[in-house]
Point group: C2
Chain length 205, copies 2
DNA sequence: GTCTATAATTAGATAGAC
DNA sequence: GTCTATCTAATTATAGAC
């Protein structure tokens, strides 16, 4: 491994550790010492890579959204499918993403509760652009009679919350219902359930 | 005011302050000094009323669920309405509760992310019993063809998340969409949207 | 009941050794 | 690049004054 690769690897280990810790304990609850220790480095090194706690948080969130965009990308083939097929594929992919990367929703939900400068940064850089795209997709689905004609902001927040919820709250689901939400069977069943609620109004003839 | 009333009033001020602070910053992020100062007392007094931070959190959560149960109670008259009317009333009442008391979802969501001993306590004492009742109601609605026949745990988490979401994430909704979710018009519109998505499958003849 | 004072930890940030 | 040492500030909890 070259020096640059070593450096990138160390940076990434800190970042992954930060993702988990911010997700589990929120910004204020997360400790730089804990994050560093989980990554196998000393706390002083975090400052070298990310300047301060804010910088670390922003880098972690940047990582999350870039990965989300990668994972949600449609292939050229898929992009040409009819709208109801496309949204079905998109939905399953999103539910699967929520199941595999629960830290994303955990970090963003906690920060959206907090109303911080960090949230303002994330809204401008990621949330607003993403919601703008979602709005356009949603409006096409409404025009095609696939999605219900309700206010798009209610739709966006209901849909994403419904898809994320069991994975966001995995600990509660396990304790209250004995369900392991990382089971493949549960993920599939939940994706089906989200589809039934949000898209079953439209039945192709 | 009698001594006992004074005492109860002071306890309540601390409790309210704790609700807001735990909601905004999570358990670890919340500071007893901040809570005490917002309540107009010195931090030492918190220990007198609630022993320690854990005791304060549990008292706050107890307060939340007792208020929820009060507010969601059906009148004898309402209890005799047909199922689809009853669920409609229940839904609007729940959305309104989420709008008026966002601290409830904010505290519980953050704690359900954390997987703590506090969560175990809340699951046993409040969440499991509540979900058991929800399950029974849901199964009746499915039998009557009012609710979709999907796994009840997916239904519970989707429904509650969809109802709570814009109020849970009020800061994000305001920053990203310029919407004040405490507006009466928004609350009504969101309740309509939740109803359309989760109950419009059934049309009375 | 309420506050003051303090003990024991812990936090984030940074300067400097290697 | 990585770590050690340290500074300052903030934390929870509690003992004791009033």
């Amino acid at each position: 491994m070259t020096r640059d690769e070593q450096k990138a690897a160390t940076r990434l280990r800190i970042l992954q550790s930060a993702l988990n810790t911010f997700a589990e304990r929120g910004f204020e609850g997360a400790g730089i010492r804990q994050i560093a220790s989980d990554a196998g480095v000393k706390h002083g090194l975090v400052g070298y890579y990310f300047k301060d706690k804010d910088g670390l948080w922003k880098a972690a969130v940047e990582f999350l959204f870039e990965r989300l965009h990668e994972k949600m990308q449609m292939s050229p083939h898929e992009s040409e499918l009819p709208a109801h097929e496309r949204s079905k594929i998109w939905l399953r992919r999103y539910v699967r993403y929520c199941a595999q990367h629960p830290a994303h929703a955990r970090i963003m939900v906690q920060e959206s509760i907090r109303d911080s400068g960090r949230l303002r940064w994330a809204v401008r850089k990621f949330i607003k652009p993403d919601h703008e795209l979602l709005k356009q997709s949603f409006e096409r689905l409404v025009a095609d009679g696939i999605a219900l004609d309700i206010p798009y902001h209610s739709y966006i927040y209901m849909f994403t919350a419904a898809a994320q919820s069991p994975f966001l709250l995995a600990a509660e689901v396990r304790q209250a219902h004995g369900i392991n939400v990382t089971d493949e069977a549960f993920i599939e069943a939940h994706a089906d359930a989200v589809h039934a609620v949000f898209f079953s109004h439209w039945h192709p003839v």
